[in-house]
């Protein structure tokens, strides 16, 4: 499961006639991407990873894609870019936004400061995330492409990228990336998830923490029943049983997933696909996954799931979690590690992230999407790469501060405790002007503002989870069948899974559904992914 929210899918229905519906941004999980042709054999080498020396993290992660931790905002900032990257021209960018619109660039000092520092005029076309795929489709149909486009993995976009976008292999593959030190600082896992198209590197990934999704727990509640932090399956059940009473339920999840990923990973099921020698086997066909479904079904039958889990969305469950009615809720790990959930629950209880009760922890995709450039002359491409290099300067550099926090005195003031945001920063910031988020972004870091203890703990939890990490071996590989049928067969399977867990259907229905999934395209997808992987080592 990727971190991309399912809610973006929900909003597409409002468009009226079905022919007007857009293509949403998320293909079904399970395939890293979908080209209609398998990638050529022998892809180019991945960019050589080279950690940028400079920003002094308090705690350094040991794993590729793991986040460093900072207790406080660094007092000394490093410099990673010496020359202005741009050439004074206009650069158009097509990205999505989760935020209200910014003031136009003429009235926007944050935007102006970024343009000034980069040496270009960035013209943003911002698209609300729910309509992003629809508008991207019209962009592709109309043919008038901007310089920079954000791509989220969706069926058949790889063909578009291969046909219309610039091949960046010569600039980024292997040691060539060292020309752009901040790009070299991006985790290899992110490049891998982006994958190669026709053997080449066509974009720059927007990196995310590889730790992925975690089970957030109300530690206060579980401590009250003496549940151990490193629990086994039986201890987990005992804990759920202990806390479920009255209005409080042990487990909460949205109706779409029922926290199955947590159960599956704890039972030792593979992360979407298992590598059997050189063959990819789907997790749905493994006995571990089936056992996990059965276990979830049992938990539901025993009443450990909050009733909202049957019908509700992520928001509904999190509302219950904040209120203390749900003991454990499945959600993005970084929401904890950046202090959002801690802030939401206030002092009412201690929120933490739990270990799986056995088995492993499924790692995330390490990528939100990737940025591609329209075909252009090598000089222009180099300039755009230099811009991206500036934008992904890591936390603790001057460049990071400028494009993420703004101008000192205008958007923040420097204090001992860190940066104090001004009022202007509530409307002019990197969310409303997402240049440093969706054109290229710095690697995520762990920092619970003002709380060293919690930061340290979050880091430790991350490292513990990463030690148990299980990767998805299909990331970055393509399957044509997956493009065409994956969303349907996966949804059918998930529908049955939901039915089984909530008690409407039985385990024999699950077996039948897996067979149907396999025959409906699952087997073919496995073949194609295996072939693509073999061709692309």
């Amino acid at each position: 499961m990727t971190q991309i929210s399912r809610r973006s899918l929900l909003k597409l229905g409002g468009a009226g006639a079905l022919a007007a519906l857009g293509v949403p941004s998320l293909a079904a999980c399970g395939s890293g991407g979908g080209a209609s042709t398998t990638s050529d054999s022998g892809g180019v080498a991945w960019p050589t990873y080279q950690r940028l020396e400079g920003p002094a993290a308090d705690l350094r992660s040991s794993m590729d894609g793991g986040c460093d931790a900072f207790f406080r905002y660094p007092r000394q900032l490093a410099t990673s870019v010496t020359e202005k990257p741009g050439d004074g021209s206009d650069v158009t960018a097509f990205v999505l936004t989760y935020s209200p619109p910014p003031a136009p660039v003429d009235d926007n000092r944050f935007w102006q400061a970024i343009n000034e520092a980069l040496g270009v005029n960035i013209k943003l076309t911002l698209v609300p995330v729910a309509e992003y795929s629809a508008k991207l489709a019209t962009l592709m149909a109309a043919g008038d492409l901007p310089d920079i486009i954000l791509i989220q993995e969706a069926p058949r976009t790889r063909d578009f990228v291969a046909a219309k976008c610039a091949d960046l292999s010569e600039h980024l593959s292997g040691d060539a990336v060292k020309e752009y030190p901040n790009l070299a600082n991006l985790a290899t896992a992110s490049w891998r998830t982006m994958g190669r198209i026709n053997g080449g590197i066509y974009g720059i990934p927007l990196t995310r923490a590889i730790v992925g999704i975690g089970m957030h727990v109300n530690r206060t509640l579980f401590d009250s029943v003496n549940a151990p932090v490193d629990w086994t399956k039986d201890q987990f059940v005992t804990a759920l049983d202990g806390v479920t009473k009255g209005r409080v339920y042990g487990l909460g999840a949205s109706a779409a997933d029922l926290a199955m990923d947590y159960h599956a990973s704890s039972f030792g099921a593979p992360n979407m696909w298992r590598l059997d020698g050189d063959r990819l086997v789907s997790m749905y066909e493994t006995p571990e996954y089936k056992a996990a479904v059965d276990f979830a079904r049992q938990c539901f039958a025993d009443g450990y799931y909050h009733p909202t889990s049957r019908t509700g969305t992520m928001t509904d469950i999190m509302n219950q979690y904040y209120a203390g009615n749900v003991g454990a809720a499945w959600g993005n790990f970084m929401n904890y590690a950046t202090g959002i959930y801690i802030d939401r629950v206030g002092g009412r209880f201690t929120t933490d992230v739990a270990m799986p009760y056995g088995g492993g922890h499924w790692l995330g995709d390490a990528m939100f999407g990737y940025t591609v450039f329209k075909k252009a002359s090598p000089e222009r491409i180099k300039m755009l790469l230099r811009i991206c290099n500036y934008l992904c300067a890591p936390y603790g550099t001057k460049e990071y501060e400028l494009v993420n926090e703004g101008v000192e005195g205008v958007h923040f003031t420097r204090t001992d405790g860190g940066l104090q945001k001004t009022d202007l920063a509530s409307t002019e910031n990197k969310n409303s002007v997402p240049i440093s988020r969706y054109i290229c972004n710095a690697p995520e870091i762990i920092n619970v503002p003002g709380k060293e203890q919690e930061t340290r703990h979050a880091f430790e939890v991350q490292e513990a989870l990463l030690k148990k990490g299980v990767t998805n071996p299909s990331l970055g590989y393509a399957s044509a069948t997956a493009d065409r049928v994956s969303s349907k067969i996966t949804q059918d399977l998930h529908d049955v899974r939901t039915g089984v867990v909530t008690g409407r259907l039985s385990m024999s229905d699950w077996d039948a559904a897996v067979t149907k999934w396999r025959d409906g395209g699952g087997a073919k997808i496995a073949e194609e992914l295996t072939a693509d992987r073999a061709a692309n080592k």
């Binding site: 229905g13 409002g14 293509v23 079904a28 578009f160 969303s487 059918d492 529908d495 039915g499 409407r504």
Partner: protein, 323 residues
């Protein structure tokens, strides 16, 4: 505004349309109708440009359309998309659910705004009537996300109703998440959300009913029921029939977001409708041709129904949608 036109000469007043004139030539009809045609022009231009200008899009139903290749560059697949729709047995379940919900809506939801309008129309206390009118349409503006959340808050497993029942030792009810109640629940939600808004049109219609007809029937000693049945309803029958036929044309659309939000709770056997089916089978996969083919299918079915219903309306002496 204007007062009543001067009393017309009796002969003309009786005449209605002038007595059948000799067959007019096209040209004289054109000359006669020119002002009307000019009035028609802006709207007509709009439809020609923005609807018929874009109708070429439907050829995509016969293609494996890929946006960046365009219509000219995408591969033609003939009837493949249509075959794919009906090859999947699950589509029949989806269509069945869609029709079922549509019929439930026609029977229960369609009369609700009318009943509400009649109730409001009969209230003589103007302030009361205006107040209720001003609030009853409000739910129309709440998005489905919130409507569904509200229903779950009240009727859900941990909702207000069940909490109250549980606290008082009574048996809890399983409304949300009960597959058998799903389709009635969907209709109930639509009634709550849109009955008020839908009553506006009927209220407007009720205000066009000629008072003299009521006076005449009152003189005949008619009570409220006879007034309703013999004066009110027949007077607004054209509008009712019109709206009914138009609703029939939409029979395969029962709303996407509302169903999508609640599908997980009850499973696809009762909750999959045509729009959600197409969403998973085609839209998510970037299959424009497939999705367009379904749109075409829906349009054809709607057209057939509108045609048939219109004919039936004519039999009953109504204008229907068109003559």
């Amino acid at each position: 505004m204007t007062g009543s036109p001067p009393a017309a000469p009796p002969a003309a007043a009786h005449a209605g349309r002038p007595p059948t004139a000799p067959a007019r030539s096209r040209r004289s009809r054109l000359r006669r109708d020119l002002p009307l045609l000019l009035l028609l022009l802006p709207g007509l231009a709009y439809f020609l440009v923005f609807h018929y200008g874009a109708i070429f899009g439907y050829v995509v139903a016969f293609q494996d359309y890929v946006p960046f290749l365009g219509v000219t560059g995408s591969q033609w697949v003939g009837l493949d998309n249509f075959e794919r729709i009906f090859a999947d047995p699950a589509v029949w379940n989806a269509i069945a659910n869609t029709v079922q919900i549509s019929l439930l809506q026609l029977v229960f939801y369609f009369p609700a705004p009318l009943a509400l309008a009649l109730l409001l129309h009969s209230v003589t206390y103007g302030a009361v009537r205006r107040f209720v009118q001003s609030v009853v349409y409000l739910p129309h503006f709440i998005s489905w996300v919130i409507v569904v959340a509200l229903f779950q808050q009240i009727l859900g497993g941990a909702g207000v109703l069940n909490t109250w029942l549980g606290d008082n030792g009574l048996h809890t009810v399983d409304v949300i998440g009960n597959p058998d109640l799903f389709q009635p629940l969907v209709v109930a939600q639509v009634i709550w959300k849109d009955a008020g808004w839908g009553s506006i049109i009927f209220l407007a219609a009720l205000y066009t009913v000629d008072d003299q007809l009521y006076e005449a029937s009152a003189i005949d000693g008619a009570g409220w029921w006879r007034r309703l049945w013999h004066v009110t309803l027949p007077s607004i029958r054209p509008i009712i029939v019109l709206l009914f036929i138009l609703k029939l044309g939409d029979i395969l659309s029962v709303g996407f977001e509302q169903i999508f939000l609640q599908r997980n709770a009850v499973g696809p056997e009762v909750a999959e409708v045509l729009d959600t089916f197409v969403y998973y089978s085609g839209v998510l996969g970037g299959d424009w041709g497939y999705a367009t083919a379904v749109g075409l299918f829906k349009g054809v079915v709607g057209a057939v129904l509108v045609y048939a219903a219109n004919k039936v309306a004519h039999r009953l002496g109504e204008q229907g949608v068109y003559k």
